[in-house]
Symmetry: C2
Subunit: 666 residues, 2 copies
């Protein structure tokens, strides 16, 4: 039997080796193999079915997630999967679950903040899932401001214990995933109080539930915080609320790698520097950046395929109508997002390298690159997650009415994705307070002082040149030159930072200036982060990339990424004089012609993500393009269609039609 | 007992008469009275409870909506409410229902397209709800391209009937609200075929279900199209799918105001001009514009109040932390949205006037203003709904993590709102193909030909001046002058349109040019529409507006609206030379100082919307600001909290913790 493929024609048009691109996307042949195998394993196992999620009640939805998590773990054990494979398998199950927090936050927290003995005690339990852990930092009253947490951990020298307590309503832990129903343990952040004195916020391993019957231990009150955005989405997760009524834990359950409390109640700073926690943050945020590229790529894959299937208007002489992907407006909305998925992918790859580099340096006692690495990871987390969240919604709109159906996969992708803009640091707070803007202002203030800017701020050393240089583009094709693009982005970023610094210097109290100019500082931070992404894409292209036509396609995408940004932020480029308006207009002409070049390759470029239909979870994004009959089939599964005459007709429709409402009991 | 009001301090700071502003917002004292009475009526009736929606299954959710719709109708009859009051009551029930389509589309379609006899026959049935109607235009394969609809209506002269048929899968009607389960009738759009000849798409009144038992009539297949975005949101609506197998209807069920088919099978154009349908479109879209202002105002109200309650960072000497509304970044994201709600309100008011004006002219046989009115309504629909959709999501993000909870009200507001960007014309298609861009290009091409541009394009008559003029702003305060703002927006819009027209003229085939330059044309259309909104706001302020300090506040909001737009689109203003970069920077300085002015009035400005807590449906937006205890209460209502140990523990958690998964059946 011939396999159905409505997109076969599109696939034939591709001008590059799709299989080679798959390797580039995955990062390596090995990474491709693992991801390919695991995604098929999940897709072929009916236990991992997920298309029914929107129809389940909260309780059934959650129970179903518990089942899948257990089944996944069972398969991981049975098949003796490696850590890498297990992670990939969980990823392709594609359902937020308590295990995400167990593996993604609880274990890393112990690894990062626990002493060797603590690691030896707790990690084996966690690795075997004999305990289930979560990460309990945020409280009802405090998220961004971690130093403002209210939970207390008071040392009791008599019993050698800490007393964990929630003194106020707002001090309840609120949000931690996996906390509400599944976790037996948590890393709890609390203000350390020893001998009446405060010593800042630290992590404590606290057992929450009995390992016999899962009942909360005495003094512990725990519950789920209720429904969240979307119907499936993050509602598979038991984000929880937790309060402590003087709960006692052993002293050795404080995570003591950085600071210790001794038997005698002495608070001792260890020789491990505090900056170490930055290392963990870099780790978690680099993961968020690669997740951003994944989430956006799924949306772009759906919208691209459906835009090639969907036809609307433009029929000539009774022939087929125009594929909507051929409309320039559709291209102008879609292709920059497609380019962004690749851009985010490569900057994510680079962050993995950066994390490795930082880790090695830390081990060698070199902390010099940490602040820069920390700032740039935070900034990239913020910029990529914001674009991804908006981009998923844009992809949904690109699918017209049908994008609004759950069966398009896009509503749930969006609802499940958006919290990435908030957790692990609110995106605005990250850009402003936490790191990027402050780091940039510090860097600018040190220019000329002899201290060389490092890493992603190295370009600032060329401050004199970048302040004065004029863009050399004279015709549209000049905008294909990496150095022209790079210099424009560098000039824009540097000039925005310098302008902020100059304005700041006029305030007698720098903090007042910082508060007043916050919005501009955020814009300068965004400009700097966009430059990083553009430059890492360009660097990637300087490598050897095998596969026929592969590099060429990536060059096109890189240029689309940069020129679409340039157009979107034209105000920045023009107001800083980094380009002229004529040059902006040339860049836009070039952009249009790049769209034409990428168009025949669009389907192949999303095929390169190598997503199974199970993982995509979208009728509109089906590999075979067989959209319409399947939309129909899917619709008929809705429980509302169990009867043609709806439940409620007799009570609420008939009396109305029959003008008998007056006497009806409603 | 003292009433709790955590925001009392904020309310005292207001520098204007809130009650007077309520009248301005409502449009008149009368409109305020109606809306105030109806919103309280709904809020005080437990039958209209809506906080449990996220927890209901699709079937229960839908049944519940049927109940509310019947109850609302019962109250409307019992209380003998006027049409205006009934509309307001339905609005405050705040739940998409089949009645929206019955009153909002079915009735207007018959009014607009039915002959006098047809109206006499059908309207009384519809007014009494003896029949329930929907509007069935879109098909699985065609939405935007109405001329491409595939359903056929073939005249059979032997029986004096039309045969309605769905020849293909893609010709099934798909999306109409109220169609799936509730409607007994539909206005169905189909290609008219008489004597083998096609006569375009027309509307037909078709009965779908028996009035005895609600069973679909022979030849009719109808169902619900399944779950949509969000858990409550639009899932209360039975958007449906419908196909016809040679269904026969009487000839007089074709809506014949514009075109008739006679007993003999002659197709006769009536003397009513086709443009009349534009009138209905202007009506529907003006409603969408005022709905945009309402939806955005709800989100802004929630985010503003919560931003005043929420404190994070900045505690000095143990005092309270800073209210997040005091951060400039928060203001920079929130206040332009607050200003937009007022801007959209006033442009909506003006559209009501425009609709009246157009209707009166039509009655007098004057069609001259119709194209302009049609273009500007379509453009304003597009621009206001896009900003509102994005704005609601931004308001959600402004609430940090808690905005992600359903109990914040924001997720459902978003999910229920976004289809407004798609229905009644996809926003991009509206700007480009349907009307705005084409109308602008036509207007530009006729400049200098003696034909004066009318209505909202009148400014284009000053083409020579606007092409050359230079913005006069020299200091930040100059940006408070309405004429400075207006001229900058006019120059930007005109220059963008003229630039497009010039580029277009270089193409030998104008349609090729139009296709190639589509993205730029959309930008020019947006610029024109933004100018309309700014200018209508300014016009409003030239009226007499009673109430202490009211006008002053509106002036501040008007300036914020305009200057925030100017900053966001600075690229347009600079590249067209409409302002200099120095002037752009001054405008931004002015904007910051406007934020400071609006800050103490922010809470009062959202109080002026006069929303009940029931209508807002948000814990974060509660009038009294008593957020935290109520978040807690709400969380505990989740069905998942019925037991502390979750359903599924025994099967899926315990075996895992006890390392007994191998033998478990999952
Ligand atoms: C789905 C989800 C899962 C989560 N999982 C976990 C978890 O497992 N464990 C855990 O501990 N936590 C978790 N969280 C909590 C999350 O980390 C916090 O929500 C996040 O840190 C943001 O803090 P907040 O909610 O207090 O926002 P807020 O800080 O209250 O932010 C509200 C608004 O104020 C603004 N703002 C705040 N401070 C400033 C400032 N200084 N300057 C300018 N603007 C400011 C913000 O930009 C935002 O617009 C989760 C949250 C979500 C939504
Ligand atoms: C919640 C909801 C309720 C609805 N209620 C009703 C109802 O009661 N009755 C009814 O009849 N219909 C209803 N509709 C259908 C609605 O009117 C259509 O979805 C809408 O007209 C868009 O058409 P489409 O879905 O075919 O989008 P498409 O036209 O398929 O659009 C897909 C993409 O193609 C692009 N595109 C299409 N044509 C062009 C072009 N010429 N140039 C550039 N780009 C183009 C669009 O911009 C979009 O990005 C409803 C829809 C929704 C979501």
């Amino acid at each position: 039997m011939e396999e159905l493929d409505y997109l076969a024609g599109e696939r034939k048009r591709a001008e590059f080796d799709v299989d080679a691109m798959k390797i580039v996307w995955a990062g390596s042949q090995h990474a491709f193999d693992v991801s390919d195998r695991m995604s098929r394993l999940v897709a072929s196992d009916p236990a991992f079915r997920k298309d029914n999620r929107p129809m389940l009640s909260r309780k059934d939805l959650f129970k179903n997630t518990l089942r899948k998590a257990a089944h996944a773990w069972k398969r991981i054990i049975e098949l003796r999967l490696s850590e890498e494979e297990a992670t990939a398998l969980r990823h392709y199950v594609d359902e937020p679950a308590y295990t995400d927090l167990h593996w993604g936050m609880f274990v890393p927290a112990i690894k990062g903040q626990g002493t060797d003995e603590q690691q030896k005690k707790w990690l084996p339990l966690a690795y075997k899932m004999q305990i289930i852990g979560c990460y309990a930092q945020t409280e009802l009253g405090h998220g961004s401001n971690v130093q403002g947490l209210e939970t207390t951990a008071t040392f009791d020298p008599d019993t050698d214990e800490f007393i964990i307590n929630s003194p106020t309503l707002t001090s309840s832990k609120w949000w931690p995933g996996g906390l509400g129903k599944a976790s037996t343990h948590a890393v709890v952040y609390a203000r350390l109080i020893v001998d009446g004195k405060e010593h800042g916020v630290h992590g404590f391993i606290v057992q929450l539930r009995s390992l016999d019957d899962h009942q909360p231990l005495p003094g512990i009150t725990v519950a789920d915080i209720g429904m969240k955005f979307g119907n499936g989405a993050y509602n598979t997760m038991d984000n929880g609320v937790l309060s402590f009524d003087h709960v006692r834990i052993r002293r050795d359950q404080m995570l003591m790698r950085v600071m210790q409390v001794t038997r005698e109640g002495k608070v001792v700073q260890s020789n491990v520097p505090r900056q170490l926690v930055y290392g963990t943050m870099v780790y978690v945020r680099k993961t968020i950046v690669s997740d951003a590229s994944t989430a956006l790529s799924r949306a772009a894959c759906i919208a691209t395929r459906y835009s090639a299937v969907r036809r609307q208007f433009g029929s000539q002489n009774g022939g087929p109508e125009t594929q909507v992907i051929d409309y320039k407006t559709q291209q102008n909305r879609l292709f920059p997002l497609l380019a962004s998925t690749y851009a985010f992918r490569f900057v994510g790859e680079w962050l993995s390298w950066l994390y490795m580099d930082v880790t090695q340096r830390l081990q060698a006692g070199d902390f010099s690159t940490l602040p820069e690495a920390h700032a740039c990871t935070a900034g990239l987390k913020s910029v990529t997650t914001s674009i991804t969240a908006d981009g998923i919604e844009e992809c949904r709109k690109l699918c017209g009415g049908h994008g609004y159906l759950c069966s398009s996969g896009l509503p749930e992708l969006f609802a499940g994705y958006v919290p990435a803009c908030t957790y692990e640091g609110d995106n605005v707070v990250l850009l402003l307070q936490a790191c990027v803007a402050r780091f940039l202002m510090k860097t600018v203030s040190q220019l000329g002082s002899g201290k060389q800017p490092v890493g992603t701020t190295a370009y600032m050393a060329r401050v004199e040149h970048l302040k004065e240089c004029r863009c050399s583009a004279q015709k549209a094709e000049d905008w294909l030159k990496p150095n022209v693009i790079l210099e424009a982005f560098e000039a824009r970023s540097l000039r925005m930072s310098v302008a902020c610094a100059q304005k700041l210097s006029k305030f007698s109290n720098p903090e007042d200036g910082f508060a007043e100019l916050a919005a501009e500082l955020v814009e300068a931070s965004v400009a700097h982060c966009q430059l990083i992404i553009v430059s890492k894409f360009i660097e990637k292209l300087q490598q050897d990339i095998p596969g026929e036509g592969v590099k060429k396609q990536l060059e096109i995408l890189c240029n689309i990424y940069a020129l679409a940004l340039l157009h979107k932020h034209q105000g920045d480029f023009l107001s800083t004089g980094s380009i002229s308006s004529k040059q902006g207009s040339l860049a836009n002409d070039q952009l249009r012609s790049l769209y034409t070049q990428v168009r025949p390759n669009a389907i192949a470029l999303v095929d390169a993500f190598n997503y199974t239909d199970h993982y995509l979870g979208s009728i509109l994004g089906r590999y075979d393009g067989n959209v319409y009959p399947k939309l129909y089939e899917e619709a008929l599964k809705d429980p509302l269609n169990e009867s043609v005459v709806p439940d409620g007709y007799r009570e609420y429709i008939r009396p109305l039609l029959k003008q008998q409402l007056r006497s009806a009991r409603l």
